[in-house]
Amino acid sequence: MSLKKMILALSAASMLAMPAIEAANAEDSIYVPLFTYRTGAFAGSGAPIADGMHDYLTMLNERDGGIGGVKLVIEECETGYDTKKGLECYEAVKPKKPVMVNPWSTGITLPLIQKAGVDKIPVLSMAYGLSASAKGDVFPWIFNPPATYWDGFTQILNYIADQEGGGVDKLKGKKIGYIYLDASFGREPLPLIEQLSKELGFEAKLYPVAAADMQNQSSQWLSVRRDRPDYMILFGWGALNSTAVKEAVKTNFPMEKFISVWWPGEDDVRGAGDGAKGFKTLNWHAAGTDFPLIQDIQKYVVDAGKSQVSDKAKVGQVLYNRGVYNSMLIAEAIRTAQEVTGNKVVTGEDVRRGLENLNIDEARLKEIGLEGFTQPLKLSCNDHNGHQSNFVQSWNGTAFEKVTDYIAPMSDKVIPLLDEDAKSYAEKNAPWPERTEACDAS
C-alpha cells in the first residue's frame, strides 16, 4: 500500500515540479545553440556535422578566448531530425537569447520562417531549407548560403552537359533519373525539374523513397533498370544515401553517371565496397586536414579531449568539414556583427546585420587558416544565398577527390524561379510583413 502511495506522490511531484528553464547567461557571453541529431535514423549523417560545428566553436573559445574577446556559450539540443522536437528546442532556447539558430533540417526550418522575424532570431539554413529564402527582401531573417538546392541541381545538369560534350543543348533527348527522399527536402527541386525538362528537352524520371523505407530501395532500382536512364541524380540524407549507393552497385548502374547533391559522406560510400568507385557528389569545400585551421581544431579540441567525435580519423572528412564550414559562417557573422554595430556582446538583430554584410574574401580565408578550402562568399541585403559554384568530387575507393573546377549554376533560369516562388509564398501567407529592417550600405 505504502509503495503505491509513494508512487503517487512521486508522479504528482514530477508533474508539478517544472524546473524553471532560466537563462543561465553570464554577463558577457554569446549564446549559440546547436540543433543536432546524434540519435535516430539520420544520426549517421548528423553526428559528424554536429562534431564539426561544436569543435570549431570550442576551438575559438580555447584558442582565442571567444570572438572579439567575448566567450561563446555552445549548447547542443537533440532534435533527432524530428520537427516537433526541433520546435521544442527552439522554444527552449528562445529565453536564452540565441544569436542565431541552425536547424539542420528542412522540416524544422519551414515553421521557423515566419517566427524568426517576430522573435528576432536569424535562421541560418546552410545549403538547405526553403530555396526561396535566398530573397533577402522577402525573408530578411532567413539565410541559406552558399547555394540553394535549385542552384545545385542546375550545377549537376551543367556537369552532365559538359560530360556529353559541352553546352546545355547536349542535354536534349537524354533520360535523367532523380531519386530523392520523399519529404520537403527532396521535393524542393521538383518544380525546377519539371520546368527545365521542358525547356532543355531532357526526360526526367522520378523515384521517390519514403523516409520509413529508406533501407529498402530495391523496387526503385529495379525501375531504374527498366527505365535505363543515362544519368542518375541523388538527393538523399542519412541511410538513404548509403543504401542508394549499395543498390546502384548491385544493379550494375555505371557509377560515373551517378551524381549526388552535396550531402553524402565517406561513411555512406565506404560500405558499398570497390564497386562504388566513380560515385560523384557536389561540394563547395575541401575535405582533409591539410589546413591550419583544422590542425588547430585537432590540437586544441580533439587531442585535448574536448570533442565528442567517436574516432579521430573522422576529423577532416566531408561532413565534419561541412560542420566546420557552418561554424565558420556563424563565427564570421558574429565578428562582422561586432564590426558593423560596434557592440561586443551582440544580439540576434546584430547578427542578422552581420550575416547580411558577410564578406569572406580570400584574405580573410587565409587569416582564418582556410586558404584554398573554399571560395569567397559575399552576401547582401537582397541576396541571402550567394548562389555559389560547386565542384564535383569523385570517390576513388578511399577518399573523395576533386575532379572538376567550380561549376556555376544556371542563374538565368534559377533566379526568376526563386523570385516567383518567394512572391507566391508571401501571397499565400498574406498579410506578409514588408521588410522594415534597414539595409546597411555595403
Partner: protein
C-alpha cells in the same frame, strides 16, 4: 474524513445522475479549471505554454478520441495519426478556399471530414477483431500518409510539399501564425479542449457510451440484446476520428504552424496509443494523465540535468529519456495494469474512507 458525502442529499433524478454528484468533486474540478484558466497563463513562462501545455492539451484531445475507440468500444486502432492528418489538411484546404470564414469554424468542421474517412476505414471492423483490426487501421495510416505526400492538391501544389500557416484572427486577436502569442493560442486550445471533453463526457455517460461498452465487453451478447453492431462500431469510428481530426487541425494550426506529412507518421499513432493505455482504457481523465506522463515527463527529464547543473551531453540525455520512459511504462503497467486513472480512482476511494482502511 475529507471526502465524506454525508449530508449531501439529492432532490431530483437529474441531480442524482449527474456526472459529478459529490460536492468535493465539483470543488476539485473548479480548482483545476482555475489553475488552467488563470494561474498557468498568469505565471507560466512562454516555454511552459508553448511547448508543454499546448501540446499536452492537443495530445490529450487526440488521446480522448483514441480512448473512445480503444477504451470504450474495444476496437484497437493504429491509424490515429492518419486521421489527425486528415483533419489538418481538411482545415488547410477549407481555409485557403474560403479565407473569409473564421479559422476556428474550419478547425471544428474538419472533424467531419476525418469522421468520414474514419467511417470508411472502420467498415472492416464488423468482420475483423482484435489485433487484426489494428493491421487494417495500419493500412489506413500508411495509405493516408502516402496521400498527403502524393496528392499535391491537398497542399495547394506547394513546392516544398508542406503546409504553412498564415496569420488568422479570432475577434481581432491573432491566434495562428507568427504574431499569435502563446497565451492566446493556449486559451483557444484550452477552450476547444474543455468544450469537447464536456461533449465526450456526456456521450460516454449516456446511452451511446453504454452501447459501446457493451460492444467492447462481448459483442455477440450485445447483438443478442438488440444492439446493432455495425452502426455502433461505425459511430465509434466516426466520433473518435472527429476528435482526432480536430486535434490534428489544432496541432498544425496552433502548435506547429507548419506541417509536413512526416508529422503524422506511425510514431504519433503509437504515442497516442501509449497515452491511452498508460492513462487507462475507458477513462477520460486517464487520457489527460497518460498525455501528461508521455509528453511532459521527457521534457522534465531533458531539463533536469541542466537545472541541476550536471554537464550531460544532449544526446546522452535523449538516450536516458528513452530508457527512463520505457522503464516507467513497464513499472506503471506492473503496478497498475489498468492505468493511471485506476490509481486515481483508488486514491479517491481511499480518501473517501480515510482514516479507516476500508
Amino acid at each position: 474524513m475529507f471526502y465524506r458525502e454525508t449530508g449531501q442529499f439529492k432532490q431530483s433524478y437529474a441531480a442524482d445522475s449527474a456526472v459529478f454528484p459529490i460536492l468535493q468533486d465539483r470543488y476539485g474540478l473548479a480548482i483545476v479549471m482555475a489553475i488552467a484558466f488563470v494561474l498557468i497563463p498568469m505565471f507560466g513562462s512562454e516555454f511552459l505554454l508553448a511547448s508543454v501545455m499546448i501540446p499536452f492539451l492537443i495530445l490529450s484531445l487526440g488521446a480522448i478520441g483514441l480512448n473512445i475507440l480503444v477504451g470504450y468500444t474495444g476496437l484497437l486502432s493504429l491509424g490515429t495519426a492518419g486521421f489527425m492528418g486528415v483533419g489538418a489538411y481538411a482545415t488547410y484546404k477549407l481555409s485557403t478556399l474560403f479565407p473569409q470564414v473564421n479559422i476556428l469554424v474550419w478547425i471544428l468542421c474538419s472533424g467531419f471530414f476525418s469522421a468520414g474517412i474514419g467511417v470508411l476505414f472502420g467498415l472492416p471492423s464488423l468482420r475483423i477483431k482484435g489485433f487484426y483490426l489494428a493491421v487494417a487501421t495500419l493500412a489506413a495510416q500508411f495509405f493516408l500518409q502516402w496521400c498527403f505526400v502524393r496528392v499535391a492538391w491537398l497542399y495547394n501544389y506547394n513546392p516544398s510539399g508542406a503546409i504553412e500557416v498564415s496569420g488568422r484572427t479570432l475577434f481581432g486577436i491573432a491566434i495562428t501564425g507568427p504574431m499569435a502569442t502563446p497565451v492566446n493560442r493556449y486559451y483557444v486550445v484550452l477552450g476547444v479542449v474543455v468544450v469537447m471533453t464536456l461533449i465526450a463526457s456526456n456521450i460516454v455517460h449516456g446511452r451511446i457510451g453504454r452501447t459501446w461498452m457493451a460492444v467492447r465487453d462481448m459483442d455477440i451478447a450485445a447483438q443478442l440484446m438488440g444492439i446493432r453492431l455495425l452502426p455502433a462500431k461505425l459511430l465509434a469510428f466516426a466520433v473518435s476520428s472527429f476528435y482526432c481530426g480536430v486535434a490534428g487541425a489544432l496541432m498544425v494550426f496552433l502548435w506547429l504552424s507548419a506541417a509536413e506529412p512526416s508529422a503524422f507518421d506511425i510514431k504519433l499513432s503509437f504515442l497516442l496509443l501509449f497515452m491511452v493505455i498508460i492513462g487507462g482504457l475507458g477513462s477520460l481523465i486517464g487520457s489527460f494523465m497518460g498525455a501528461a506522463l508521455i509528453h511532459i515527463l521527457p521534457i522534465v527529464i531533458r531539463a533536469l540535468p541542466e537545472s541541476l547543473g550536471l554537464p550531460v551531453a544532449a544526446a546522452t540525455v535523449e538516450h536516458l529519456t528513452y530508457l527512463i520512459v520505457g522503464g516507467l511504462i513497464i513499472f506503471f503497467l506492473i503496478v497498475e495494469p489498468h492505468g493511471l486513472a485506476r490509481l486515481w480512482q483508488i486514491t479517491k476511494q481511499k480518501l473517501r474512507v480515510w482514516p479507516f482502511p476500508y
